[in-house]
Subunit: 293 residues, 2 copies
């Protein structure tokens, strides 16, 4: 499989669906819809929604049926970036290669654009079809739980509280699991749910998501050190300058790479139950490990 | 009916349910759960959830069945207060008689506490039972739509954009409908949905909610001028000092009171279909009109 072509094709499908799901810029009040769309259509890699779609297909489901969940997940991810970039959080000026939302629209509208994207995620997911095993309530719970105070939001709180403090490896792993792995795992699980996955399939994909999610964040930590802001589309070297604990800062570069490889191998193994149908997910795990931005 | 006793009893039920639905303070990370509970259990009047319960009962439903929706609505309302009070929005130090969230926990955690309450609202609502006419998806859509970019969030954007500018009566009414009436109407409609309301009942309660919601905000505008901060539990006189357009500033005090009375009368009329079963809702509308804080 040509992973670049695959990703480009999937990204296009996701973008087209987001275009349909989000209110047009002309809807009143115009400012909020401009701000929502500014951040959503900023050239994000769409990794989470692509994982949702691939997970659905691995379980024998269809891309169309998984699309509402895929878009909901992307809205949650984008909201979290807008709020994380605020001056009262990580205070970042650059995201996805463009000025951050608060730089363009001001802090008030940026907070509200995040709020609106978080809210619309549930409006979109409510449009997903219930399946025999997973009703609408189960799908909504899945997303709300992963995005809520114990996981996504909780991870950002732990991250804020850890700033300028020396963290243990266990503390850092906790933050990474909350901030990154939980939503990534939910993205994959929601794809499986849309395809009415069996218990065994859902369990395997949960393990896959947890491994890939942690590997993803380790690579993120590494790229922050090794890549340029231009390549990343966000401020590089930020972790070092803000004295943030990262995998490389705690374990060193070589051990960090090794751990990312170990987790990716574990992710591969968890897909055994899918046989040939797991090929896309395997390729995506390899891509996430090898990515340069 | 002794409205004070009725409200006190209902508030107690809502508080007890919120206590069950929200993660304990001891759940990790502790800070976020402390911050969520600090704002939720700050002695709010619980008007929206009480309206949800009363609406359910008017349609022949039960308080218990409507409780998830009632609590979800209160979480949304509280999140909107936390974010509205932020320095980048209305910059307020006092809310429900206590220092605002960002004054106690800092801006970063306050943003996240709002995010977490917004998210948990959908997790709670997902626990509501679907009824024959209104599935989980319909109930989630109802709340997400009212809380989203067109209504609650949209109203706050329009409010921010109107600051320091002379607004027309129509512009002010638009903001009030978005910021206040939409969520209040959704609170009432969700109660009706939990009771499997007929089309006629839902339609009547929608009119009721829109009228009461606008009257509620007009009274709020009036109280900001006439009452003390101590009585209101938030900074009084804020609208005048920040040159915010309000009903009294545009129409004068007497015309504003008259309009609130007219809307309350319209709310009463809309309840005709309920006969005696609309008594609690009528009493609540009168209470909202006559309230002093």
């Amino acid at each position: 499989m040509d992973i670049a072509a695959y990703l480009a094709a999937r990204t296009k499908l996701v973008d087209r669906a987001l275009e349909r799901y989000l209110p047009k810029e002309s809807v009143k009040p115009v400012t909020i819809h401009k701000a929502m769309r500014y951040s959503i259509f900023a050239g994000g890699k769409r990794l989470r929604p692509v994982l949702t779609l691939a997970s659905a297909e691995a379980c024998g489901g269809k891309v169309d049926t998984a699309m509402a969940a895929a878009c909901a997940v992307e809205c949650i991810h984008t909201y979290s970036l807008i709020h994380d970039d605020l001056p009262c959080m990580d205070d970042d000026d650059l995201r996805r290669g463009r000025p951050t939302s608060h730089k363009v629209f001001g802090e008030g509208v940026a907070v509200l654009a995040g709020d609106a994207l978080l809210t619309v995620a549930f409006e979109i997911l409510a449009k997903a079809s219930p399946t025999k095993r997973y009703g609408t309530a189960a799908q909504i719970s899945e997303l709300a739980h992963a995005a809520g105070s114990r996981w996504l939001v909780g991870g950002q709180v732990a991250d804020l509280e850890g700033e300028g403090r020396k963290l243990s490896g266990a503390e850092l792993q906790y933050i990474h699991r909350c901030k990154t792995a939980a939503l990534l795992t939910a993205s994959i699980r929601l794809g499986a749910m849309s395809a009415n996955a069996t218990d065994a399939q859902l369990k395997a994909l949960t393990t896959f998501g947890q491994s890939v999610g942690l590997a993803f964040q380790i690579i993120d930590d590494i790229l922050d050190v090794t890549q340029s802001s231009e390549k990343l589309g966000k401020t590089a070297g930020k972790d070092v300058s803000s004295q943030k604990a990262t995998y490389p800062s705690i374990y060193g570069m070589e051990k960090s790479r090794k751990e990312a490889r170990r987790l990716t191998a574990a992710a591969h193994r968890s897909l055994g139950v899918f046989g040939g149908k797991g090929a896309d997910l395997r390729a995506l795990a390899d891509f996430l490990l090898a990515r340069e931005y």
